[in-house]
Amino acid sequence: MNDSKLATLCPVADAGFRRAGQGLSEMAGTDIAATATRIRRLPLAKVPDLLGGPGVVVATVYLAIKGDVEGHMVLMMPLSEACALADMLLELPSGSTRELDGLASSALGEVGNLVGSFFLAALADVTSLRLSPTPPTIIADMSGAVLDAVLADLSMESDQVLIIDTLFAQSSRRVSACFLVLPRERYLELILGRLPR
């Protein structure tokens, strides 16, 4: 994937994230914006380094991509950011959520669900592909341990991951996360071939 192809994905990500933000706002009853601040490519094995290293515990929402394309989507962030995101969604004062308990965990799952679903919907709009996510799985564990099975699953094909740096904002609060999109390589070509030039 070259830079111009990455550039064509920017409006797709923007549209998907804007709608995800609207969904989050409805859910939380307060204005929350989701923004794709940057799109880049990296070898998947380098992703844990973005989050402190493979042994550092992170919060993860995983969804598989089904339909005309097979692959994986992962929303990943430091535990502290996940707690801040839960506070934002549950309209709690900053610092209230200290661990990913049932409520915080399901709020986080809904964020992953909305971001993944609306990103796929935006991608489906421009590619005319049938794309849908599985229900979200929420995990708090070492980032290397979460991603190594994904990497093993993809390593016969490609180990490149599309990373969308993500910012959630509500009033003066900000939460940063990484949204990873990993279609199987043969499907990546299919997607890129259908993107508008």
């Binding site: 290293g53 493979p54 515990v57 993860t60 995983y62 994986h72 290397g144 341990a145 099975a149 390593s155």
Partner: protein, 163 residues
């Protein structure tokens, strides 16, 4: 615990050490860490195995990636550094299923396959395991203290334990 003498062994890599280093495989999920240590030669090695078989991969230049190439490479490298194959103490950790890939009902248990492949290769080499901590649903960090041969495993929310 980790010290500044700690050397990270990344996914698909393997490392050998003679010194008082600690070799570390951080964040093992479905991957399997294979530690081997010779108490006489005081040389040790750690492999961070990702996949069961090199037959399904396309990067034969990375022997540390596959169980069937990583384990023989590890043993050969230790032997070259003065280890005796018969004295090697072998311990493994990892092979968990942290993430059910593909959603419910479509789980690819790569971790189990990795553990089975490592065991099979060890059998073929005539080697047996001294200890293991495998399977389950949690990530692990595995440390080999080369000076002493001690292997410790850390899991989220639990105290580190010695294998």
């Amino acid at each position: 615990m980790a010290s500044d003498r700690t050397r990270a062994v990344g996914m698909g890599e393997l490392a050998i050490s003679h010194s008082d280093e600690v070799l570390a495989a951080y964040g093992l999920g479905s991957c399997v860490g294979v530690a081997a240590w010779d108490p006489v030669a005081r040389v040790g090695g750690l492999a961070h195995v990702m996949l069961p078989s090199s037959a399904i991969g396309r990067q034969p230049e990375a022997p540390g990636r596959f169980a069937d190439t990583a384990v023989p490479t590890l043993v050969a490298a230790l032997t070259r550094q003065g280890a005796n194959k018969g004295r090697l103490i072998l311990k493994i950790a990892g092979g968990a299923q942290v993430l059910a890939l593909g959603g419910a009902g479509n789980t690819l248990a790569i971790g189990e396959k990795n553990v089975a492949a490592v065991r099979q290769v060890l059998r073929q080499l005539g080697l047996s395991l001294a200890a293991e901590d495998v399977g389950g649903n949690n990530g692990r960090t595995m440390l080999l203290h080369v000076a002493t041969g001690q292997v410790t495993v850390q899991t989220v929310g639990q105290a580190a334990r010695t294998l």
